[in-house]
Symmetry: C2
Subunit: 212 residues, 2 copies
């Protein structure tokens, strides 16, 4: 897989130009930016883009796989922190920061792209770590005991919209939203919840089936 028959040098170069262009445009305008624009920004024809990346998901994979990996690193760091609650908060804040900085990342935080296999694989790894962050904060009695990993999807969905809406007007407004949400996640704030949590597969489907 690492050595998948080397590209000719010009092709390799074009590939890199495309990934760079995509990275920039995804960050600026989100994951749905027209492919033609990516090609133009890379200084390459649309045909070449399709030669290198048969579909948008392949391009997303090339751009984001590492970033989702970086998120996993954040999770590791959170787990290494002394205070479990602070680790939990640290992680959420950092992820939301990425959501606020990079429009493409924000899109990916709220919806899955099943065809982007590398990205999805990295996401799964991140999820395993997050599960541990949650469990650890709960064992310490800081995070409410009835919270599941799937509930965090609510946090990211909410942040996704808030970040999008306020990006231009008040780029840090999301911190306030997150803080309000966090106050609801503390064990000390917990009141009984009216609905059972999403099952993991349900949460998966929910992220996949999100249009717009």
């Amino acid at each position: 897989m690492v050595t998948a028959r080397p590209l000719r040098r010009d092709a390799q170069r074009n590939r890199e130009l495309l990934v760079a262009a995509a990275r920039a445009l995804f960050a600026e305008r989100g994951i749905d930016v027209p492919l033609e624009e990516i090609a133009r920004r890379a200084g390459v024809s649309i045909g070449t883009l399709y030669n290198r990346f048969p579909h948008r998901a392949a391009l997303i994979d090339a751009v984001f796989a590492d970033r989702v990996t970086a998120t996993a690193a954040l999770a590791e760091h959170a787990l290494a922190m002394d205070d479990p609650w602070e680790g939990f908060v640290f992680f959420l804040e950092r992820v939301c920061e990425l959501q606020a900085t990079d429009r493409g990342y924000n899109d990916l935080a709220a919806r899955r792209i099943p065809e982007a296999t590398a990205t999805e694989e990295a996401r799964r790894h991140g999820e395993r770590l997050m599960r541990r962050i949650v469990a650890r904060a709960q064992e310490a009695g800081a995070l409410r005991a009835d919270l599941t990993l799937e509930d965090l999807a609510f946090v990211f969905w909410g942040q996704a919209r808030t970040v999008e809406a306020t990006r231009e007007i008040a780029p840090d407004a999301w911190r306030r939203h997150l803080a309000l949400m966090l106050d609801g996640l503390r064990a000390s704030a917990a009141h009984p919840l009216p609905e059972p949590p999403l099952r993991p597969e349900e949460a998966m489907q929910a992220m996949g089936g999100c249009r717009d």
Copy 2:
């Protein structure tokens, strides 16, 4: 304005068919449903649709103005409730219920359509009432004192996404999300917030500038 030169009878009938079709389709598929489809469902040509409603916003106005008014009625009811906190919760729950039921309403909860003047006017009225709901719950010491009306936009934005994502998989999941959020809004849960609230105009702009 009430008597704006009566339409010919057939035109009036077509208008009603169009509004009914739009109401149904907005509810099913959201506010961005193709106009051609609305015309088809109404059994009328696309040209007729444009005769009656020069732009989508006019149609939105015709469909939603009353529903936003109904939301104001919810607010009045909330204000009439004995317990201010319960009034607050009642209001949020009902609005979120509407968001969950009607995809078009959900869209409107998260973004303004400045050209839809009647709808916007009704929204402003609802806002005045909501401000009172918030103030009353704060005075009773139940709602955190640092919360502003604009902060509720975060709630609605978040719910908008959650409702959209979970509608098919778990239609009541939003209740859990809302409950978590509510636990963060209680006075007893309050920790200092890291950011100042949005100013009212900022919140307005934020809802207007939301693409997707």
